[in-house]
């Protein structure tokens, strides 16, 4: 009988400790709505960052094209002067 009482008290202590632990473990939890909000924000941010990279690449390509056209124009202006002189000398 004495042993049974001891065992019950030990079990009570253990259960109490465990219940305490479970109480601390089960604090705030995000709701489905919260989870969805975070997932959607994350997906949107990643997609936007990808789009930004694509736009950046497009912009850089255009910058290259503009620089090439500027150089072409400059060369043509110089060439035009040369042709003009050549025609005058003929």
């Amino acid at each position: 009988m004495k042993i049974l009482t001891k065992a019950i008290s030990i079990a009570t202590i253990v259960l109490f400790t465990l219940s305490l632990l479970s109480i601390t473990a089960c604090g705030w939890k995000p709701s489905e709505k919260d989870i969805q909000a975070l997932e959607e924000t994350r997906a949107a941010a990643l997609a936007a960052e990808k789009t930004q990279e694509e736009k950046k690449a497009e912009r850089m390509d255009l910058e290259k094209q503009v620089n090439a056209k500027k150089a072409e124009l400059q060369k043509l202006e110089a060439d035009k002067e040369k042709v003009k002189k050549h025609v005058e000398q003929q």
Binding site: I3, L4, A7, I8, I10, A11, V14, L15, L18, L21, S22, A25, G27, W28, K29, P30, D34, I35, A37, L38, T41, R42, A44, A45, A48, E49, T51, Q52, K55, K56, E58, R59, L62, E63, Q65, V66, K69, K70, E72, L73, K75, L76, E77, A78, D79, K80, K82, V83, K84, K85, H86, V87, Q90
Partner: protein, 282 residues
Amino acid sequence: MKIRLMLSLLLLVSVFALNGLFAQTSYDYENMTQEQYNALLAEWQQRLGNAQTGISNEEATIEELKKQLAELQARIDEQWNEIYQLASSDKAGFDAFGGDLQGLQNDARAMLNLSAEDIYTRMNEVDALQQKLDELKKNPFAAMSDHEALINSIQNLINQIKEKGAAAVPPSYTVARGDYLWKIAAKADIYGDAYAWMRIYTSNRDQIKDPNLIYPKQVFTIPRQVGPNEHLVVRGEFLSKIAGYSNVYGSPFQWQKLYETNKNTITDPNMIYPYQVLKIAR
């Protein structure tokens, strides 16, 4: 028995509880704290905001660049039109000029690949290349930088061809006391064949009045190759046969023209000799 049962139950419950405790260390929503959630949400919101701002900026820059590109293209087209007007030509004329230069460059490259001797015999073609280049230089498009570079490159090739061909220009021989044409022609470093004296004689007619009379210190050219507009007679040939060759006149009936041109070395049109060098008047 009851105690054992109770202890087993306790152990089981403890194991479940401990599992729950350890599970809290992994990153998942089940065990996420509110602070963690809020921090993550704020981070992603900020990243989204930054990216959206970045996209807007990039799009604005892209639009601006597209405008610049269109403007530059319009100015380039305008410059081209002015150049065509100055040259009294058009795009087709410009392209044709570029094609002519390219063709000339290819011809010059092919010519440069020939041996020095071949170049020497085709000096007429080298001169023709030079003439064509000089003609193309007169075109107003020749002044444009790309064409200028191409023209310089072609001129360089032609100069190299001339230099290479010059190496095959006949060397000379200075007559020593006791020499006679037969003896000179027989020398190993000359022709190694006494019968080739005729070649020395016909190639130096300006210095040799009589093939039996040559003088010490006279300098004779010793042609190694037949030059342009020349023909080296070989055994079995006669004037009408030579005149009939496609690279001569292409007609045997023109033998008289050949005879007239070489009257100073041909005394009888029925008698020509191997090694005799005949000039071909064009």
